[in-house]
Symmetry: D2
Subunit: 384 residues, 4 copies
């Protein structure tokens, strides 16, 4: 009763591996009408391409990503490339009628993001679907948080505290494209704030209405040039961006992304305080959701929920017994499962972000930058 | 070799108890040339005054605080009253040549704070000293943090994340003066942000140079009137104020104070990230300082330091053996000890805030309010 | 309405300070019909006696503890001396009709303990009461645990895991009487296991019926002689004793006391697992009780209860607002309050251990030693 | 340069899935001279066999496991079946010259284990190798612990505290073969204590020399019969076994396995205290190792090491960037990589247990049972 579902992937670096793994693993752990066939991998680096394809089981490989648009068999193209090429690749594939799953952030600029959202809207009329790999939504603990908020367990949301703290961006880290604005667009902002803005919008279920103030700062301005002893080059992206915002329903929110917080390696964290309770999550302890419900002054308190119970927690039934914890890559596999469900006409476990959704996240990022640069509050209605 | 040192106290509520306890306990645990004598307690509520004096050992009591200025024997007046009377009481006592220890925040308005700082400056010429009860500086863990920063263990400070989260301000909490602007001046802002602005300035050792944006919000606008079933009154102070700031040396900083964060009862917390390491503290786990130093990728990580080792940690030698933990009230006793040391011509364990210092904290609070109301960044140089 | 209640204390070291503080502070924080009067302090070290008495407010002092028995005014004698003199001191005071509050463990040997329990039984006929300072029962978190077990929140208790881990007993620690068997009786066993056996019996509410096996070990056999450079002396007490036991109702139990566990300074901890739920406590985080109740596979988990809520948690109303945490010494003050309540004919917050109760703890310690030495299981019925 | 390496697997339940996943994933993340070929899956349940084979990519399937011995191409047979058939299956395969990787515990009885160790010894002469799936050794945090102990970071080991606590064995859990002694051999003991005895021996690097006492207890004696409403059947395995032991070098040790500890789902935990430092691990937080080193009274304390740094932590370079955490299944994949390395003549990251090693673990389990039943200490020299 399964149907082969040929996919192609562009990119063979970090995200290339994570996506290849997800497509390989998904039907081992999830029942699916659609059976992914790893049809073609496309990437620029011709030397590494053959071994990568062999290792991950891709049937074909190419250095010309445009070929994928002409490959009739391919039904979905997965884009795992740097931000500055997302727009061109996505537009070509959508025009060719392929479903597209694109890495986050949707694009390096708001213009690109808007163009992609427009193209997705047009393609949707022909039944073409888009997806953006905001993988953290699909950690079981985050998916549970989403459900608890929907069920009203927290009541009206009053405060959101979101942070994504890393520590790898110190002055000894060599220059790479990630530190060059013309290639990367931004530093911590697009890389990290994109994730937590998506997560906050997803959990609260409302749009951001205003950015009240922001700081964008580059602490490290010169970095060693790799392979050139003693020489340095210019590092011109932000190391940290933090901003304050309001949600449409009135909740206050703070966001901080940095690559200079020693002690935090991948601390993608959020806390919500509602009228009836609070919850919090940090990716460094990804199998756990913490919940504190009001109203029990005697035996109330923060509760550590191990989100690994089959039948009780999202995705858990597909993996291992209680507290046989899962890891980073499983978020991608869970998302691949939900993409397949959606394309088979079923509901995903929790909502999947598409280009229109990711464009809203991009608008918030843009508002934060404008607020930092103009030293004033910016209403989202000012950002098109 | 000890000399009696008569003090007076104004106020017999929460702070009246905490201060009475500190003055009673200090010489049981600390050696001191000056031996506090609990000379007179002054308070408005005449009915409770006698039992309070008896319980805490005050020799005299009065409902007329001005009498203290005329009491020659009294050398120090401790002010533990609401913010709106700090100015008048302090000015009278300073004029009378009394040392003054005033509860925080220094005042309810910037005008009052400035007047107090000016009066303190004048009195200082006659050897009169002022102190402000920012008690949290004297938690051993915070004092250790201060010393580690001074020693350069964190290197240059890049980020400060400060919060003071409480949960008692929900809509079921009855109206009291704390929720009325004309009496309290502000809500969470003066009550809680005052503490964390002081702590951040103290630990970083620099002044705030700019507030980049702020949110001031009142979520609960009506509260039950105590004793009047079914009736409500207007609650018009802020429930939450959050703001972003820069320190003079370039560090970014975020501050949040709220009374609506379920799960946080007295979560006065701060984290510093420096070029060489990070540290963090939360009052709910007050005996612990967490430290993470960079440079050891193999066995590095956040370290829980139990700050209770006699001979190794500030104040610890005066209390109990290792890990026989101390509590909230000990911060006040430690501060009383440092006040006595200072008045005896010795160095306190860590610096004590005086009126001039507390006035700087007040300027930051004012800048945050102006930023929230004007929806733009405010440089501290604009705040007089 | 209060009545002066003169007490005497023997001992001026660590416990002398802790008890003096408790008797000084108790009526500042608790309402009491009986108002302790610090009548006389007795101790051997004549030099330190006067300053100690002055510092703590003792009206009289003596180096002859027997005088206390003849002092008619004194109603209660508090014994804070080494274990080997408890018996003689207690027997004299009981014979003189004084109430006696004795430091734990009740005695250094089972014989002594039995004699003391017998004397207490006799004295009780004349209305004389005894108390043993198992102070940890009166941490609010432990008292809450007691109540939750009584209310059936855990159901039938199945497992008890108790430990008291410290780290100060390494080979560099100089020889003192605590390491000499003829003076101290035992090492970690009497010092630390006494506490956790009391706590386990208190919380479970049953007696131990059998010790299944035990290890008694002395790792450090020579220690530096203080003041004699390069010389060492024999250290012959246990550094660690661990044993397995059953409670009368069938629960299994493990106990471990050691002075050689780096990382644990005062880790007096216990966990109970019942048919319906579990709870755990560690003194190093003394304001917190952790509770996990079964039956909610979706949002269940360990809950951190901050036991500081006035009106909801034992003793909390007497101290500070929510989460304004308390420390080590407060356990003693809470116990002083409960002793005064008991002597005024009221119920203590949770049961107070008397000599008969502490003798049961001593029997368990004895059974553990016999089990270790005889390399076999020992039923408590074999221990008289 | 890679060589195909055909393997067969017996078993398609929980362990069948975990092993199939490991063999599928290993060469995607690890470089290996040997490329596993999933040749044949054998299992009794013929109905599920074909879908299982398809899902995991096994080329052949059979309900007759003995056929594997006759399949010349197969070089290694992986045994993932219940304990009572390990012996027969292993002996047949070893006799046929196949390498054997067997699930833990090695066997259901000491006799079986001894026979298997003897057969392995004989087979070794022909170059045949054996492995036992003690997967937790290969959590990066546990492997790091192993290395730190070897490097002397803890000094001489004094105490070991090992526990494996689960919560799924309450009276509402239906009867299955796991609760029937004639099939399962034991309950928590063989299932859980086997893991922690292996881990303790592995980390300490010494053998257990004596069991000092033990408790074996069955709390739940009747369980619902699945599918037969209202009927119950006899549950006769242990729910909990705890025992005390010594290591050859003198360290004390406690072990506890239970299925009745609410709040602990898969809490496989261990702590070592050495003369110079301590470390601890719990599988529920599997990416973290906690380390506390002595000698720094001022800034020492327990350190949370996130064991995910490529180049610094075992196995980490094969997975994802820093703090992109891994999960349960990765322990098996890491072990598959080490098996392949060993068979290719290379060193594994940390030592692999073979049948001789697992037989030592089995002797300790046997000594614990004899100690519980005979109510006395048992020296390991008494266990053959």
């Amino acid at each position: 009763m399964t149907r082969p579902f040929p996919i192609a992937l562009i990119g063979q670096r970090f995200m290339g591996r994570a996506h290849s793994n997800a497509w390989s693993q998904v039907t081992r752990f999830f029942d699916s009408e659609l059976q992914p066939v790893l049809h073609t991998i496309a990437a620029r680096d011709s030397e590494g391409l053959a071994p990568f394809a062999r290792r991950w089981g891709w049937l074909n490989s190419t250095t010309d990503w445009k070929r994928l648009a002409r490959e009739d068999a391919v039904e979905l193209v997965d884009i795992g490339t740097p931000n500055d090429v997302h727009r061109e690749q996505a537009l070509v594939m959508l025009a060719a009628g392929k479903h597209v799953a694109c890495e986050k952030p949707l694009a390096g600029t708001l213009d690109d993001a808007r163009a992609m959202a427009d193209a997705a809207k047009k393609a949707a009329k022909k039944g073409v679907k888009t997806f953006v790999w905001f993988n953290y939504r699909r950690c079981p603990a985050v998916a549970l948080a989403y459900k608890l908020v929907r069920e009203g367990r927290l009541g009206r949301i009053l405060h959101v505290r979101a942070r994504y703290l890393q520590d790898w961006g110190g002055p000894q880290t060599p220059l790479s494209w990630r530190f060059q604005k013309k290639v990367a667009g931004s530093g911590a902002h697009g890389d990290l704030n994109a994730h937590i803005v998506d997560m906050a919008r997803f959990l609260v279920g409302e749009e951001v209405s205003e950015v009240h103030g922001a700081i964008e700062r580059t602490f490290v301005k010169e970095r060693p040039l790799p392979g050139k002893k003693g020489e340095t080059g210019k590092s011109d992206v932000d190391d940290v961006v933090l901003f304050l915002a309001s949600f449409a329903g009135g909740a206050t929110a703070s966001f901080e992304a940095t690559r200079l917080a020693i002690g935090h390696q991948n601390d993608n964290g959020i806390e919500l305080n509602g009228e009836k309770g609070s919850l919090r999550f940090s990716f460094e302890d990804m199998n756990v959701l913490e919940l504190c419900e009001g109203g029990d002054a005697r035996t109330g308190g923060w509760k550590r929920i191990m989100c690994t119970s089959a039948g009780n927690h999202p995705y858990a039934a597909n993996w291992w017994p209680d507290a046989h914890v899962i890891g980073y890559e499983h978020g991608f596999t869970n998302m691949a499962a939900d993409i397949l469900r959606t394309l088979a006409g079923l509901e995903p476990e929790v909502p999947l972000p598409d280009f229109a959704d990711a464009y809203q996240t991009q608008r918030v990022l843009e508002a934060a930058l404008q607020s930092a640069r103009q030293r004033r509050a910016i209403k989202l209605s000012q950002i098109k």
